[in-house]
Amino acid sequence: MSARIPTTRQAVAATLALLTLLTGVLTAADIHTPLRWWITLAFVVLAPGWALAAYFPATEPALTWSVAVSLGIALGILVAQTMVSAGVWYPSGALLVLVGLTFAALVHHLVRRPVPSSSPPPLVPR
């Protein structure tokens, strides 16, 4: 029986799932380490956004990562601003919810079949 070679999408999903898990453990256990801030920052910027961006058909890596970063930051802003505007300030709890949802989406990317890519012609003819 031959082992299946993971696709790039699955490899990225697995890496980000590990980052998500690590963030969740550090936050839930309230472990104090200088690395925790940078790990959390990397999680917020990369993981939730990529989990959403990967639902687009496979395309140029720059587009995927640009959209992933944009959506990650956008989700982070919306979560944070909702708490500030509502006067309900629970950053650790909100982060754990974001970790849980992101992890579920990343696991889905690990197991689902890829969407075929679509490559429209450039807008400006060569």
Binding site: L26, T27, D30, H32, R36, W37, I39, T40, L41, V44, L52, A53, Y55, F56, P57, T59, E60, A62, L63, W65, S66, V67, V69, S70, L71, I73, A74, L75, G76, I77, L78, V79, A80, Q81, M83, V84, S85, G87, V88, W89, P91, S92, A94, L95, S118, P120, P121, P122, L123, V124, P125, R126
Partner: protein
């Protein structure tokens, strides 16, 4: 006659792809050589850059800023990297991974220069932003009535959220490398937009490099505008990839009513619209300008028949108006005149954004001239690119309108004298796309004397743009950068200031406000003194409980106001001998004065 390629300099060698007369064997050898030459050149460039780096403090810099302090070996790294890029771009099969690595190196060389050579993060505003985020982290809410920027707190809330959730209280470590990271993310967004518009060929890489080499505005420091710019580029890239339909190459007219469904699935389009809506929702509470500009650009796409979902620009514009009216009420109820008072006054905006900025000594004027020249060069290249497209294939005005539309901000207001700078920043992505067509035409031109010239001209052009941007970006560093001693002086003042006291600076060039927001009041004599030339009187009346004086402020006085060398020392001497202040801290030229107990306020 076959050219003797064996004696040519490798990075100026003529690739076979654009010299079909080269015999196959020689061409193969050169192809193989060139394939290893470009990574070697790029590696050499990074090594030169690292070797040439050395620490620079504000006290060492003159009115030309950082450029005067850069070593020749470091300056040499830029043309070498750009030669590698151009050679790789004209190869038969440009290697995407290498071009990506070169772009990362380019971001490091251009945007990592100041973080790598200066002791602490520059720009006092960046430090103030940390103070805003720390206030939200500690209190879970904004400080109403303190600063207009709290009316768009999305970015500060995000930083507070991440920091608080990870147990971090000091956010200043984010500052120093923020410009390199945020500019790098903007370059990524530009690459995504360029590939969506131009395809994945050479032009998209040229557009990415033109953006990287001409973004001189320095709006990539730790700030809402830097982060929202990244989001805007992501939104535009998504739009161009999934929500527009390429116009037929020969279509001369907009086709608003006959918009075409993009060539993808309904699922793709639904996802893209949802993602852009999510980005717009995050932009609304984060920055006062970016979402309006995104809405305006989408509107241009709609009106020229490019954009398929007609509702998208309107919902984006409505969201920005909704936040402005409801979320930013604290701001506009006090500053409505600032917002709408100068609508339609183009002269006022231009005066504030251009002519009134041309003040200062000779070095400062040179730096300002470099910025204007860079902006005009990008404009000319974009115009040439548009003309080339217009003449040959695409008769659409859309790209040109997208590059021009952000300058419409000038009609609305002066944005505190920054409107031209901001307009350039927002126009740059589409201007770079158009300019890439012109530079690509240079690479393949037949009118240049030889193919070697056809390669050398773009290398020289890109190097000139890159070095001009390095010059422009570091042009204010004599007064906008700080040393560790400056920071230690400010820290000293914060440690000794009681709640309700004030910490003053002579000019705005001091890292103030990064802690104890709302408890200790930062103030700047420059901002409140009606006649800064008569600063002596203002200082006595307004300097506050602590006064921090640094070499950056000394430089600001000399460069911007023509004060004599040593003016800050003279002022300190006057204040101390008058008995109003005493010198309580002095380290490497960074000094703190404390008001003498019982001294009467002027």
């Amino acid at each position: 006659m076959t050219p003797d390629t064996s004696t040519t300099i490798p990075f100026l060698a003529v690739p076979e792809a654009i010299n079909p007369s080269t015999p196959t064997a020689v061409a193969d050898r050169w192809k193989a050589l060139n394939r290893s030459v470009t990574p070697a050149l790029a590696a050499l460039s990074v090594i030169f850059w690292l070797v040439g780096l050395h620490p620079v403090t504000p006290g060492q810099m003159g009115s030309l800023g950082l450029i005067n302090q850069l070593s020749p070996i470091l300056l040499l790294s830029y043309p070498i990297l750009l030669a590698a890029v151009v050679l790789e771009l004209v190869a038969d099969r440009p290697r995407e991974r290498l071009l990506t690595a070169y772009a990362i190196a380019g971001v490091l060389l251009v945007y990592g220069l100041q973080p790598a050579s200066e002791q602490t993060a520059r720009l006092s505003v960046a430090w103030l932003h940390v103070g805003f985020a720390q206030y939200i982290a500690a209190h879970g809410q904004v400080l109403n009535g303190y600063d207009g920027r709290f009316s768009w707190p999305g970015f500060f809330s995000l930083v507070a959220f991440v920091s608080r959730a990870s147990g971090q209280t000091d956010m200043t470590p984010l500052l120093q490398w923020a410009p390199a990271v945020l500019a790098g993310l903007a370059v990524l967004g530009m690459r995504a937009l360029a590939t969506a518009v131009l395809g994945s060929g050479r032009r998209a890489w040229i557009a990415t490099w033109l953006f990287l080499l001409t973004q001189w505005t320095e709006q990539d420091y730790f700030s809402p505008q830097a982060v929202t710019y990244v989001l805007m580029l992501g939104g535009l890239a998504l739009t161009a990839r999934y929500l527009v339909r390429p116009l037929p190459a020969t279509s001369p007219r907009p086709c608003l009513r006959g918009r075409l469904v993009p060539l993808n699935t309904p699922r793709d389009r639904l996802l893209a619209q949802a993602a852009i809506l999510l980005i717009a929702l995050a932009l609304a509470p984060s920055h006062q300008l970016t979402l309006f500009v995104l809405g305006g650009l989408l509107l241009v796409m709609l009106l020229t028949g490019w954009l398929w979902p007609a509702w998208l620009p309107w919902i984006v514009l409505i969201l920005s108006l909704l936040w402005f009216c409801l979320g930013a009420k604290d701001f506009w109820k006090d500053h409505l005149d600032l917002v709408i008072g100068h609508v339609g006054q183009i002269n006022f905006s231009v005066q504030q954004g251009l002519s009134q900025r041309f003040v200062g000594d000779g070095g400062r004027i040179v730096i300002l001239t470099v910025r204007v020249a860079l902006t005009c060069t990008v404009g000319l290249l974009a115009a040439a690119g548009w003309w080339s497209l217009h003449r040959r294939t695409t008769r659409s005005w859309t790209l040109a309108l997208l590059a021009i539309a952000p300058f419409g901000l000038i009609i609305l207001q002066s944005y505190g004298g920054e409107v031209i700078l901001r307009s350039y920043l927002f126009a740059l992505p589409f201007a770079a796309i158009l300019a890439s067509v012109a530079v690509d035409a240079l690479l393949t031109s037949t009118w240049l004397d030889s193919r070697r010239t056809a390669l050398a001209v773009p290398v020289v052009l890109l190097t000139a743009l890159g070095l001009a941007t390095v010059t422009a970006r570091g042009g204010n560093d004599a007064y906008t950068s700080f040393s560790r001693a400056d920071l230690a002086a400010v820290d000293y003042a914060y440690q000794h200031a009681a709640d309700g006291q004030t910490i003053g600076a002579l000019t705005a060039d001091l890292p103030l406000g990064y802690k104890r927001i709302g408890a200790v009041r930062p103030l700047t004599v420059e901002a409140t003194c009606p006649d800064f030339a008569a600063i002596d009187a203002c200082v006595v009346a307004q300097a506050g409980d602590f006064l921090v004086v640094t070499p950056s402020q000394e430089n600001a006085g000399q460069i911007l106001y023509g004060f004599p060398a040593g003016w800050t020392s003279q002022l300190i001497h006057q204040l101390v001998t008058s008995g109003k202040y005493r010198l309580v801290y002095d380290q490497n030229g960074s000094r703190v004065l404390a008001e003498t107990l019982g001294a009467p306020h002027g």
